[in-house]
Amino acid sequence: MTDLTKLTLAEARDGLAKGDYTSVELTQAHLKSMEAHRNLNAYITETPDKAIEMAKASDAKRAKGDAGNMEGLPIAVKDLFCTEGVQTTAASHILEGFKPEYESTVTSKLFDNGAVMLGKANLDEFAMGSANTSSYYGNVINPWKGKDGKDLVPGGSSGGSAAAVAGGMALAATGTDTGGSIRQPASYCGIVGLKPTYGRCSRWGVVAFASSLDQAGPMTKTVRDAAIMLGSMAGHDAKDSTSAPMAVPDFEAALTGDIRGMKIGIPKEYRVDGMPEEITKLWENGVAMLRDAGAEVVDVTLPHTKYALGTYYIVAPAEASSNLARYDGLRYGQRVMDEGDSLDDMYSKSRAAGFGKEVQRRIMIGTYVLSAGYYDAYYNKALKVRRRIYEDFANAFGKVDAILAPTAPSAAFAIGENEDDPVKMYLNDVFTVPASLAGLPGLSLPAGLSSEGLPLGLQLIGKPFDEETVLRVGGVLESAANFTAKPFGQEG
């Protein structure tokens, strides 16, 4: 019998439709895989009972001839999405034990479309990190191993989601991307990750990190899978004022395989100093593949790229410092106080104990850049630069249909690396942050291996609300790259 955990979402969908197996079988196979791979720590909370219950209900629904777009397909949900009655932690101690009385819009849509939840995937605390080493619930380990067998990071912040998909612990997973949190872990784990246009998916019920940047998206094994899943996540939501009142196209239909005559832009500013040779090579290969498929490759310029990372690390912490003020120990989550403590004592003790180091660092950065006397020099200037970055892209998209760039400056690194200096860690986001600041859709797909045999991703950036082009080009690139390597233990 086929190993059901090796199926793509599309294959499983078709297999279920043909009656080759049931959702319960599919779900059980994944639950077993989750158990076998607990050492990777991809999940904070496993929900096997709920999963089986949902799978049974799904099979019953299918039997009645009423199958949704994601019917019976078991997925992991990043533990940043509030799930009704299921602990939602944002990987933080401060929310330990918090069980929302509500379901996020995105997970509601997925479940309404038939998806089965396997559990809540691990992540960096409050989605702040690029290595999934800031979770209160422990590091996530990448299913891929380095040559020396060392444990590698899965990337972050959606590290648990990426590891779950790469390791056969979920057919697909939800992720969220603020500055690269879907695309970079997708690249490190050899899977596909799509950050949609800001406003494409509702943020309602997603624990907020940086409201003007946060965007939910699919993390899958293939580009087609991403198209399928996005269709069930996207859509206008009156409960999120920033969600776009736009119809959801048939994303899967965009995968025509034909990109002849399309113009693909290559931004010269992404050729950063000290970029590893293998990344440059990967990028060049991507260019050649697109050219071979009939696309026209043109140079574009995004002159403000070099300011993007700095801008991001002002805007995102600023918003976070305010968004995280609600975790005060009063109404939910952890409270730390001693007899006779004042309100301020309770705040400081609860927040000191509840937030990890990286979260505290970003709250402090954010508070600083918004404070009187520094606001204009930092936050206000960052907003202006952000506008320029957006304009750079707008100008480029006057000439091209999509932009090709690497996803990350390296392959996955060993756990413990880059921890000595936060700025080193932040540099992982250098290629993903510009599209985030501009609110543009970005797709990462595995396109080659590093010298160590680790996956490397290429990124396609599209026009606002033009995920279809990104997916179409991504589909072609995916076929051409023919990335078949599997993590250790997942081969064959």
């Binding site: 944002a90 918090f98 019920g205 409960k239 305010s322 009063l330 109404r331 404070s371 606001y375």
Partner: protein, 484 residues
């Protein structure tokens, strides 16, 4: 009006600007669907958004936007078609989000004007700097438990309009007139109920003093004063304090102060005065608030006649004095009452009855116009009874007394008590004949030219008819009989 504090070193002038928080009349809160009903059980009007649960997002309540625009139009102010909500960040137990969503550098309403009606009948114009929308906080209760404070989030997220005046006020009474007028305007508009005792209208006063003609001095802000009278007192007391400090060679420190009405003093606030840096920034959960001219025009159509226009109409069409018109329009309910009474009747006569008799009686009984035992319809009928000579003005006053007591219909009262005026010539004539016959000497005096005595005869006849004789007829017939 000038208000000068005579200090030991010379005269001082006061400079005051007011910041008034008006709770917006709306069914639900500014950014959530929770009810705004006052007096519900603690923490029963709380949505997930109001409690700042993780992942919850604000969505603007369009009704509150309409109300703010309507108020802006009522203040003859500039309406900003694009405004921005910002977060004001600070930690407090009754502020679940850890920030208040407010408007900072781009408010929904800009410059406007309020015309003050001063007690002496004069007017004064005070500038409005801005009006912005913001969320109210919850309520902290420190008296429920010996060890813990309790929090009620019913008010958390309710829409407030903060209306900021220019520092144009120079007299405590102008501050009172400003608040009275502002309250009248929002009540006319139906955008705020203006109840200061329920906290739906709250006032902060910025007070400074200066030598007349010199630049503004350093100001102190007196927070959360909850009645018009207290605002006036607080300004007076704070200005005196500042003069004393300055004259003693001291310096005014810009600070937030509390008014203690019991002790009659203002004092610096302690705990909350730890120099907040609110770190305002545009709320990324909300798009800029944008609307078009059509939206404003739509609201403009719903504007009622406002106090200033009503006052002008009362003066021009009903012939009232500026003072009387001002008294009547001060509260919409009073003006409405007056209009019912005046309809189809003599406007001035109606105003006299409403202001002198009715308001006088209501004030004495400490009853508001809404609870008046005399309905406007009945007061109108009473005036009709005078006009059509059914009763005399004097009897009318008696009837009115009964109406105040019983709330009765004047026609019925006149009927039941037999107070109808005697207009039957025969009956009056016999009463006159009796008085003439009893006082031949006085008749002679009149005939000798002592006209004044005629009044005495009128009085006697009225007395003998129990006041019911038509005084005009009595007068005429007496004249005819004695002098004719």
């Amino acid at each position: 009006m000038t208000y000068i504090i005579e200090g030991s070193t010379g005269p001082w002038e006061i400079v005051v600007g007011l910041e008034v928080h008006c709770q917006v009349v709306s069914n639900s809160k500014l950014f959530s669907g929770a009810s705004t009903k006052f007096g519900n059980e603690a923490n029963s009007n709380v949505s997930l958004v109001d409690a700042a649960m993780p992942g919850m997002l604000p969505v603007i309540n369009e009704e509150c936007v309409r109300q703010a625009v309507k108020t802006g139009l009522g203040l003859k102010a500039q309406i900003n078609k694009e405004s921005v909500f910002s977060r004001k960040n600070y930690f407090y137990a009754d502020l679940p989000q850890g920030y208040q969503i407010s408007q900072f550098d781009k408010p929904i309403v800009g410059k406007g004007t309020i015309i003050l009606d001063m007690p002496d009948g004069t007017t004064k114009s005070v500038g409005i700097e801005r009006l912005h929308l913001e969320q109210d906080a919850g309520k902290s209760m420190h008296d429920q438990d010996p060890k813990y404070s309790h929090i009620d989030l019913n008010r958390s997220g309710v829409a407030l309009m903060e209306i900021v005046s220019d520092p144009d006020i120079r007299h405590p009474e102008e501050a009172g007139a400003y608040l009275t007028k502002l309250r009248a305007i929002v009540r006319y508009l139906g955008t705020c109920d203006g109840n200061m005792n329920e906290g739906s209208m709250r006032c902060d006063a910025n007070v400074s003093v200066r030598r007349p003609g010199e630049p503004f001095g350093t100001r102190c802000e007196i927070k959360n004063v909850n009645s018009i009278r207290f605002v006036m007192q607080a300004i007076e007391i704070e200005a005196k304090r500042q003069v004393e400090v300055l004259e003693a060679g001291g310096e005014i420190i810009q600070q937030t102060r509390l008014f203690d009405q019991r002790l009659g003093e203002t004092r610096a606030m302690r705990s909350k005065e730890m120099a907040h840096d609110y770190r305002y920034f545009p709320d990324p959960d909300l798009l800029p608030l944008v609307f078009d001219d059509a939206f404003i025009a739509e609201i403009e159509k719903t504007l009622p006649e406002l106090p200033d226009e009503k006052k002008a109409r009362f003066i021009n069409e009903n012939g009232l004095s500026a003072y009387d018109a001002g008294v009547l329009v001060a509260e919409k309910e009073k003006a409405d009452y007056y209009e019912i009474v005046a309809k189809g009747r003599d406007g001035k006569l109606a105003a006299n009855w409403v202001i002198t008799n009715l308001f006088g009686a209501l004030n004495k009984a400490e009853v508001g116009i809404a609870d008046s035992p005399v309905t406007a319809e009945n007061l109108g009928k009473l005036i009709d009874l005078i006009s059509n000579d059914t009763i005399s003005g004097r009897i009318a006053k008696d009837v009115f007394e009964i109406m105040i007591e019983t709330g009765g219909d004047p026609e019925k009262i006149v009927e039941e008590k037999g107070l109808k005026q005697i207009t039957d010539t025969g009956a009056i004539e016999s009463a006159i004949d009796e008085v003439i016959a009893a006082n031949p000497d006085k008749v002679q005096e009149i005939r000798d030219g002592k006209d004044r005595m005629l009044g005495w005869f009128v009085g006697q006849v009225m007395k003998s008819t129990g006041g019911k004789a038509n005084p005009g007829m009595v007068n005429k017939m007496l004249r005819d009989k004695i002098l004719g």
